[in-house]
Structures are given as C-alpha cells and as structure tokens.
Amino acid sequence: MSDAALLEIEDLSVTYRTAKGPVEAVRGVSFTLGREKLGIVGESGSGKSQTGRAILGLTDGNGTVHAKTFRFAGIDLRHASERTMRSIRGNRISMILQDPRYSLNPVMPVGRQIAEAFLVHHRTSQRDARQRALNMLEAVRIRDPERVYRAYPHELSGGMGQRVMIAMMMIPEPDLIIADEPTSALDVTVSLQVLAILDRLVTERGTGLVFISHDLELVASFCDRVLIMYAGRIVESCAARDLAEAKHPYTRGLLNSLPKIDRPVAVLPTLDRDPSWAG
C-alpha cells in the first residue's frame, strides 16, 4: 500500500452553473499523491480550494465534478455513493480549514468535539474516546490537556484553536489530510509551531497531505512537491525546494512580486497576465 498512490486524479473539472452561464472553476487538473506533502498554490480564484473540496465531495450543489480518473485508495470517487463518501469523509480523508473559530462548534467543549470525531467512526466507549482525545491534545503539544478538553472554542487563542482542529482531524487516523490555508489566520511564529506539529504527525503516521496556500515561500519550505494553479489549471509543478527556480512566467511573476526583506527594490515588479496562461 505504501508505494501505491493514495490519490489519482486525471482531467478533473469543476463547473458551476451561474446566472451568467457556466463557470469552470477547475479545468483539466491531473496529479497523483503518495504519502507526501503536496502544496497547491495560487491566487484567489485559481481553483486551489475547489480542487480540495472536490476530493472530499464537498462541491456546492450548483457545481458538477467530472474526471477521467478520480480515485482515492482504490475507491472510484466518481461513482461513490453518499454513504460511501460519509464513511470516507472525516475517517479516511479529513480537512483542516483556515479559521478554527468558524470550524468548531461554539457551544460544545472542544474535547467532546474531538472525542466525537473518533466516536462517529469507531465503536468504542465514551471513556476510551475521551482518553484518546486527551492523548491527541497532548500530541498537538497542548500543555494542559484536561483544561483544554473542557474549554469552549472562544476560550482558546487562534493557535490553540488550530491545534485543536488538527487533533480533531488526526484522531480518526486518516490516510489523507486536506489543509486549506491552515495557518493563514495565525501569527508567523504560531503558524510555524502549528506546522511543525502537523509535519510530525503526518511524517510519523505516513499520512498524505494536500496543503492549499497562497503563500509561496511557506509552501516552498514546508512541502515536498508543489502544484501552481492559475485560472483553474495547473500551470506548473515542481519539487518544493526548486520553487525559486520555477520556469512558468506566472510562477516567476508571483515570486518576483513579493517584497524581500534583504533585497530592497525601488519598484516591485508586477504581473502582466498573459491570456495564454489561462489556456
């Protein structure tokens, strides 16, 4: 299993019906994912989040998903029933979103929410689930798990909230995690600490990670491989450490438009969008 691809996607498209006609949010996206950290970068509207949501079967009702191949761990997601999807979602593929304040239930202590994530997919006692949740809180480096277990989401800082989210997403021991801007709402040092926790859990458990982000430098330093999306398509893919030497003019343009701390320029280069990039 370890060598087989976790996710195989060929020619994925996501199309939305709108009042102004169909909008193709994702067009002809193909990639395979093993037990690795794959970054998907792009600007707003590039289709990076829509790609992540399609994998989980979370495309909104007015959207349709097409693909030649769309397989997760051998399961054909194109023909998966809603029942099958429910058994996959949360259990085998889980998702971490940007802002824990909107992703956690505000009126339930966070410990119970983590335990529930385990109970939904496993037959076990409440006591066992509680113990697993406490262990998981410890695994995400929360110093006082008993106290945090009883805390409500509003009582947690952003960094704590996001660690709780990671605990909740990791507790069913999924094969694949889709993290959509998981640290964009956090301060830079907190963000790095949260990523270190995610990194360790993903590496120890051999989980696949799709890391969706607008932050090129973060993805280059955190992931193994990167896909760059523009207008719904993948325009380039490369090893994360080679991102600085990316070839595509769009990727180059994005990298150049970033101000650098140590290399001041009078005027920042801006992006001249070539219609051919949208293909």
Binding site: E43, S44, G158, D187, V188, T189, V190, L192, Q193, L195, A196, D199, H214, L216, E217, L218, A220, S221, F222, G253, L254, S257, L258, P259, K260, I261, D262, R263, P264, V265, A266, V267, L268, P269, T270, L271
Partner: protein, 258 residues
Amino acid sequence: MLSVRHLDVRFGRNEDAVHAVRDVTFEVGRGASFGLVGESGSGKSTVLRAIAGLVDRWTGTIEVGGEALGAERSKRFRREVQMVFQDPYGALHPRHTVDQILKEPLEIHRIGDRDDRVMQALAEVGLDERFRFRFPHQLSGGQRQRIAVARALVIEPKVILLDEPTSALDVSIQAEVLNLLQRLRRERSLTYVLVSHNLAVVSHMCDTLAVMRDGEVVEGMAVEALRSGTPTHPYTRQLFRAASGYDADLVASLVDDL
C-alpha cells in the same frame, strides 16, 4: 510631522482592564515612512487608532504638524490625517457608488470642484472613469483598496495611516498597491505610518520602524538594520528568522517569553 510621546491606552476597567499600549514614543518626519511591526495583540493597530482618534481613552501626547491633539479632533486634523484600513470589503459603503464614496469627504470638508477632484483621484490610483459609477461589489479586492486610497487622498491630507493595507490582497495585487502608495508618497511628500505583521512589506515601504510586543516597543531601528538582518532584540531576531519560512530546527528553538 507626527510625534507620539508616552502613549498609553487601556481598555476596560478595574480588574478586567487591558493595558493595550504602554509608554510608546516615536517621531515621524515630514515625508518619512514609519513602520509599526508586531504580532496580533501587540498593540500596533491600537497606536494607529489612537492617532486617528478612534480610541476614546488614551494618555500621553500626540502631535501632528506641531499641534497637540486632544480628545476631540479638529476638522483641520481630519483633513490632514487620513486612514486606510485592512479590509477593503468592510471599509466601503456597499450601497454607495465609487462617486458617492469619493465625494463624501469633499462634502464634509466643503471643498469645491468635486467632479474634477473625483476624476483626478481615480486617475491617481490608476482607475479610469468607467469605475466611477460602480458599486463596491462590482470591484475586485485590489480595485476596492485603490478606491480606499483614493478616498484618503481626495482631500489632500499630509499624513496617511495605513493599517495592514495589503494583507487581504493576493501578492501580485499587493505589489501594485504598494507601488501605488510609494509613488503617491514621493509625488505628494506624504507622511506614512504603516502597521504590518509582514517584515518584507515594512522593509520595502519604511525608513524607520518600531517592533511592538505586549503593548510595548521592544526595539526601534532604521530599516537598514532590518534589511541586513541585524536587529538587536532577541524577539525581533526571532520574528526575522520566522519570516524566512518553515524550518523544523527553527521552530524547536522558538521561545515564547523573550
């Protein structure tokens, strides 16, 4: 142009009081650009809001152009000092057209030639007349931020307070807005105070900066010290290293209470 001395801001009362800004002092010369850097809760935005008159209770001295500010801000102050906010989606009235948005400050300050001034402000931020009668929802994030800048400029202020002006924008759009702000500062000898969590943006935009933490300035420096990576305070050095991306060894070395 702008002088802040011993600024203190407290929110709440008694045991719930939060001492958000503690004894902050800095000076910004005419035509200079000053950066306030820090993480969330450091008090950097509160300093900016105190200058703008958006915080009720503060102590210390704030002077703009030699005039000490009181609790009530004069009309002259409001004409000389303008602010651009982080979220271009929240800062513009959703049911006002660009034309109405840009005319409102002109009406408040009883300035004539409004049509000409609106057209000129639009041109200066790189938008043409087609945008004049659009509503904010018909604009992209970058276009909205340009309108917010145009609204600040239209009454010809001397100081512009910028609160994370590009952190809600894509990087390619950020570059355009930063270039725009730089050009306007040059052409109009504007004085900027820029609040940002992004060291690279501050390095690009500012001459001097102060690093804040827990309401206090931990270090003030010329931008050259930031660019050369030689800040002296350990907290600033940690921020500097964290800005270079993910590094497991770095994370292990992070200290919470520098």
